[in-house]
């Protein structure tokens, strides 16, 4: 059995430290070299020359969350698939190929069921989920879009 030394993790720590050092070094140089003349106009957020109105921190559309949700499920599934993929070729050489293939396919099959469900329900559809939320105010536009979709389909 192979053993690993914990020292192998040292470069990661050193690299992260290097990033921090570079960051603060750059800042330091910037503080020394750069001028500092703030004006009230300069310190506002950029809105193409207009006065900035309100805060940008407002509620966003839910579709961003749905994308994140599908992502995290896939992420976790791929995490579980990595160790199985690592032993795959070994198992094939030992003659358990069909067994592990079946197992793998069942796992992926369940994953694919999920994405097919989301596809059918339109969660992968950036525009349609937008129309559903906009229908409250403008029914005509949504109906028109639906007709266009039907016609194209």
């Amino acid at each position: 059995m192979t053993t690993t030394q914990i020292d192998g993790l040292m470069p990661i720590v050193i690299m992260m430290a290097a990033a921090v050092v570079l960051f603060f070094g750059g800042h330091f140089a910037s503080v020394i070299l750069s001028p500092k003349k703030p004006t009230p106009q300069k310190d506002t957020a950029y809105e193409c020359g207009e006065e900035a109105v309100g805060s940008a921190w407002s509620a966003f559309n839910v579709r961003f969350y749905v994308v994140g949700l599908i992502f995290i499920i896939f992420d976790v599934e791929s995490v579980l698939m990595f160790p199985v993929a690592t032993v795959f070729s070994e198992m094939v050489k030992e003659g358990h190929g069909l067994f592990i293939l079946t197992e793998f396919l069942i796992f992926i099959g369940i994953l694919v069921t999920g994405i097919i469900y989301c596809w059918k329900k339109g969660d992968l559809d950036w525009v349609r989920s937008y129309q559903v939320s906009a229908r409250r105010n403008q029914p005509a536009v949504a109906v028109k879009a639906k007709e266009v979709k039907k016609a194209s389909a």
Partner: protein, 101 residues
């Protein structure tokens, strides 16, 4: 020298802080943060015990599944939070009183 006790102490601190976050804060997202801390404390315990006591990898498997369950829990929990916000326009936990009586 690092021993099992050091990991257990860290795990305990994390667990207690997670519990305090869950109790003290009224923001539902913050409560979910507390739950993540608690679950991680448990997973840390599993890995520490599997290293120092049992000497096999079942603890690692358990930690893996804890992470999986935590991710699923966060996904569903945050979906509920968003839906709650759509209904109530707030995520203050004391507003969730529809099932009280």
């Amino acid at each position: 020298m690092i021993s099992l006790a050091s990991y257990l102490i860290i795990s305990m601190i994390l667990f207690v802080i997670g519990l305090m976050v869950m109790i003290a804060r009224k923001n539902i997202v913050a409560i979910l943060l507390g739950i993540e801390l608690v679950l991680n404390a448990a997973a840390l315990n599993f890995v520490a015990y599997s290293k120092f006591v049992t000497n096999n990898l079942d603890g690692h498997i358990f930690a893996l599944f804890i992470i999986v369950v935590a991710a699923a829990e966060a996904a569903v929990g945050l979906a509920i939070v968003i839906r709650f916000f759509q209904l109530k326009e707030t995520i203050h936990v004391d507003e969730a009183t529809q099932l009280r009586n």
